[in-house]
């Protein structure tokens, strides 16, 4: 939330009762309370009428400004076919729907939203998931409709983000892993307890014999769910890997499991021993914990966004009489005519049937900030945003054939493994080594003593623990993933960090990534007559051109109130003209105002006299980014800039990068192709971008990172999200990710050391259950600890400190 602007002497120091922001002079005042806008006033009114004013007491920043909360059209929710797609469950009396509310930000939000039933009678309950910013709403379809619910949510300041389809409910929480850990842990603990007498030789007196046998069978029974339920994942994975002729870590795991189980079962049934079931259960238990540890995700961030999240769900089909009816975007066929209202996105490719002088804003998809002019018959593309004029469009392609959609159809890279497993060669060598060793041991002992031969060979297979090997990387990378998140670097999974460490080519987008949001445009005044400024403010507010908006903002900050004026004449490509009280007001480019001045500034003139000049938005480089680019270029070499913008006049980028590595006017497809070509030349590419126009490139890169200003914004599909101000720390992140390999080396060495110790017992045939039961958990736990502690040390050890 922005801090309130210090009041200038001309305005009173009023702050909005709802959101706390500074109220401009046109504040709404009711019953002694002031509000910065009608939206805030309306929310307060609703809360007041329903006795929900405790909302403001629960959290200090409960209210957020409603100034930017535009009116949204939910009429399409009345169409049952469309509404049903969002509904998870429905019967006569209740209807369950899950809605994303990006505006949720504090405890007050939860408090208020869970009392939705007090605001809207048909609602039975509303349960909020804070981490995901979701509301699960149950309402009575006889009393209210989804549209009413959506509108009420919008009115109290939580506009819903409605996707085309409800997300599959089962997809997100993977409970089966938790069940397995629970079962494996239960069996492990109990088997181990039952094994104690065996370890310490208790009860070796009479009477114990009979009990001992029964207890062994009990342990065997307890081990069955471990092998066939909890460990079944490893069994199937190893089977699939083998049939695909690949070697994964599951293979030595399954070899170990089978040796443990079969040997123990034999010993128990034949009465020759107690078996090693505690090691078996422990093995499965620790491995499952390793799986769970690396499955950590950040609930509030979505790394999987596709075009459905951005393109409008419904369109307004234009009828013959000029009215519109809502229709699902995906049902649009070539030949349909739709109307896209100002501020809304175009859902499908088509042709304009009427001129739109204000133009179309494609910044969402191409990054091009200036609006594209649009005449009758001009081709328009899905993703463009309508400006001041509504756009009647004749559709030429269905939504799933949209030109820009091709960006998302790029399949993700083949080996997109979310889990970090040890490298294939290591696993292969390990597996072969233990099989060879087992065979050798067997053939060594066989001539001398058959029983010992079997014992020793199976002992080799049992003790050669792949579990330390399997746990090292997940815990090291998983810890780093969590630590990075503390500094606002969010990686979708631990494997992304591993890929990042291998990156050797770096591609940056410009606008929004290397450069931050434009500053407010500074104004130089030549005249400051309030009446004149008032007219200009009113003129500027009638236009949606970015320069006009900037001028209106600047004048608002200055404290000018808009005057009441007649209609303004808008000359495309030039500016605005108004005849007011016999004076001619001009607002536009230098050429338009008849001035001999360099291109770039916007001028306001009255009857030929300059009133003010608006300087172009000062888009600044994010702090520290210049040093970062220089450092990257020096140390890594292959650093590139690709941008959808026009070539700037003064190429400041050549200070940081070599000219042949800077490319402008790149369409989203150009960006994607550039990345693909780089990858084909053998580089591992890291792409950093921010918007939809980078989506194709982010997916095409080996690792794609998205820059985000604010968590409430959406980031495109990517492997990681960085906060904008922290982009300069990228080299630090790289260095840390690479140093982690040192920790891995250490843990693998530790794992091998344990294996050597254990094997020395095994090959001599003297491996007792006690030794196995001690070594196996000890190796697993110590590897986990070294991995976690090592990763933490690496994270904190750098010369500079991580921000945040």
């Amino acid at each position: 939330m922005t801090t309130p602007v210090a009041p200038s002497p001309t305005t009173r120091a009023l702050s909005c009762t709802h959101c706390g922001e500074h109220c401009e002079t046109e504040a709404v005042i009711e019953n002694g309370h002031s509000f910065c806008c009608a939206g805030c006033a309306s929310v307060y009114q609703i809360l007041h009428d329903n006795e929900l004013l405790s909302f403001y007491h629960i959290d200090d920043n409960a209210g957020r400004t409603q100034q930017d909360n535009q009116h949204s059209d939910y009429s399409w929710l009345e169409v049952p076919k469309l509404a049903d797609r969002l509904i998870r469950y429905r019967d006569e009396q209740r209807c369950h729907v899950s809605i994303e509310l990006p505006a949720i930000h504090c405890a007050s939000c939860i408090w208020l939203l869970e009392r939705l039933h007090e605001l809207l009678p048909g609602v039975r309950s509303c349960t909020i998931n804070f981490a995901r910013k979701e509301a699960l709403i149950v309402f009575d379809p006889q009393q209210t409709t989804l549209r009413t619910v959506a509108e009420m949510l919008h009115r109290i300041g939580y506009p819903p983000h409605l996707r085309a389809h409800a997300e599959e409910p089962g997809k997100r929480t993977d409970r089966s892993l938790i069940y397995r850990i629970g079962v494996a842990g239960f069996c492990f603990g109990n088997i181990m307890l039952l094994s104690f007498p065996e370890y310490f030789g208790w009860g070796a007196d009479a009477g114990a014999g009979q009990v001992g046998g029964a207890v062994n069978y009990l342990m065997l029974v307890l081990s069955l769910p471990v092998v066939f339920y909890a460990g079944s994942g490893f069994l199937t994975a190893a089977y699939h890997a083998l049939s695909a002729r690949r070697v994964t870590i599951d293979l030595p795991i399954v070899i170990g499991m089978s040796a443990l189980f079969l040997r123990s079962a034999y010993e128990i049934v034949a009465g020759t021993g107690a078996g090693y079931l505690d090691s078996l259960a422990g093995l499965v238990f620790f491995l499952l914990i390793g799986r769970w540890f690396q499955s950590h995700t950040f609930a509030r961030l979505n790394f999987e966004r596709d075009y459905h999240d951005y393109f409008p769900v419904a369109a307004q089909r234009l009828q013959a009489d000029g009215t519109t009816t809502p229709v699902a975007s995906e049902d649009l066929q070539p030949g349909d005519t739709i109307l896209v209202r100002p501020g809304k996105l175009i859902p499908a490719d088509g042709r304009l049937t009427a001129a739109a002088p204000a133009g179309i804003d494609y910044s969402f998809v191409t990054g091009e900030r200036d609006p594209q002019p649009a005449v009758v018959g001009k081709e328009v593309f899905a993703g463009g945003r309508a400006l001041a004029n509504p756009l009647p469009i004749e559709i030429t392609k269905a939504t799933n054939q949209s030109y820009l959609l091709q960006l998302w159809l790029n399949e993700r890279k083949e080996d997109a493994e979310a889990t970090v497993a040890p490298p294939q060669q290591l696993t292969l060598i390990f597996t072969i080594a233990i099989l060879v060793l087992a065979t050798l041991t067997f053939s060594y002992w066989y001539p001398t003593d058959e029983a010992t031969a079997f014992r020793a060979a199976t002992a080799v297979l049992i003790i050669a623990c792949p579990c330390a090997l399997a746990l090292a990387a997940p815990f090291a990378y998983g810890t780093l993933q969590r630590l990075f998140a503390n500094s606002a670097f969010y990686f979708r999974d631990p494997a992304a960090i591993r890929t990042l460490a291998t990156a050797n080519a770096f591609v940056f987008d410009k606008t929004g990534t290397l450069m931050g949001q434009p500053d407010h445009e500074p104004v130089s005044f030549f005249r400051k007559t309030p009446a004149t400024l008032a007219v200009f403010r009113a003129m500027a507010e009638q236009s949606t051109h970015p320069r006009s908006r900037g001028l209106a903002q600047a004048l608002k900050k200055h404290g000018t109130t808009p005057a009441t004026i007649g209609p303004v004449e808008e000359i495309p490509g030039g500016g605005l003209r108004l005849l007011h009280q016999k004076q001619e007001y001009l607002l536009g480019s230098a050429a338009f105002c008849g001035l001999e001045a360099p291109h770039g500034k916007t001028y306001c003139m009255v009857d030929g006299e300059k009133v003010l000049a608006l300087h172009p938005a000062n888009t600044l480089l994010r702090p520290g980014v210049d040093a970062m680019l220089v450092a990257l270029q020096k140390e890594e070499g292959a650093t590139y800039l690709i941008s959808g913008d026009h070539h700037p006049k003064s190429n400041i980028w050549e200070e940081y990068l070599t000219p042949d590595r800077i490319h402008f006017r790149q369409s989203p497809f150009d960006k994607r192709d550039f990345i693909t070509k780089l990858r084909e030349s053998g580089k591992k590419v890291l792409m950093i971008g921010d918007g939809i126009n980078d989506a194709g490139a982010l997916i095409a890169a080996d690792i794609g990172l998205a820059v985000n200003e604010d968590e409430a914004n959406f980031n495109p599909a990517c492997d990681g999200v960085i906060k904008g101000d922290l982009l300069h720390a990228l080299p630090l992140v790289l260095r840390t990710a690479r140093r982690l390999r040192l920790v891995l080396f250490l843990t693998y060495t530790l794992a091998f050391a344990y294996n050597i110790i254990g094997l020395s017992y095994a090959v001599t045939g003297t491996l007792s259950p006690v030794v196995a039961a001690i070594l196996m958990p000890l190796s697993s736990i110590s590897v986990m600890i070294v991995a976690v502690v090592g990763a933490s040390i690496i994270y904190k050890s750098d010369e500079y400190h991580f921000p945040g």
């Binding site: 329903n50 006795e51 405790s54 629960i58 405890a107 939860i110 408090w111 869970e114 009392r115 039933h117 007090e118 009678p121 048909g122 609602v123 039975r124 309950s125 909020i128 998931n129 804070f130 981490a131 009575d140 929480t173 409970r175 938790i178 069940y179 629970g182 079962v183 239960f186 109990n190 039952l194 009477g207 114990a208 009979q210 009990v211 029964a214 207890v215 009990l218 609930a299």
Partner: protein, 55 residues
Amino acid sequence: MKVILLLILISLLIALGFLAAFLWAVGTGQYDDEVTPSMRILFEDHQAKSNDETN
């Protein structure tokens, strides 16, 4: 001495009960959201307005 088997079986049964409770708790979604309940617990009792609550 055989009575110890009976004791073991009984305690295992009780432990199984707890395992069942754990599995049930996970299955009914009690662990799906670990953040929001911690915030909810701090809310005070609230007097709804005079209309009946539709819960």
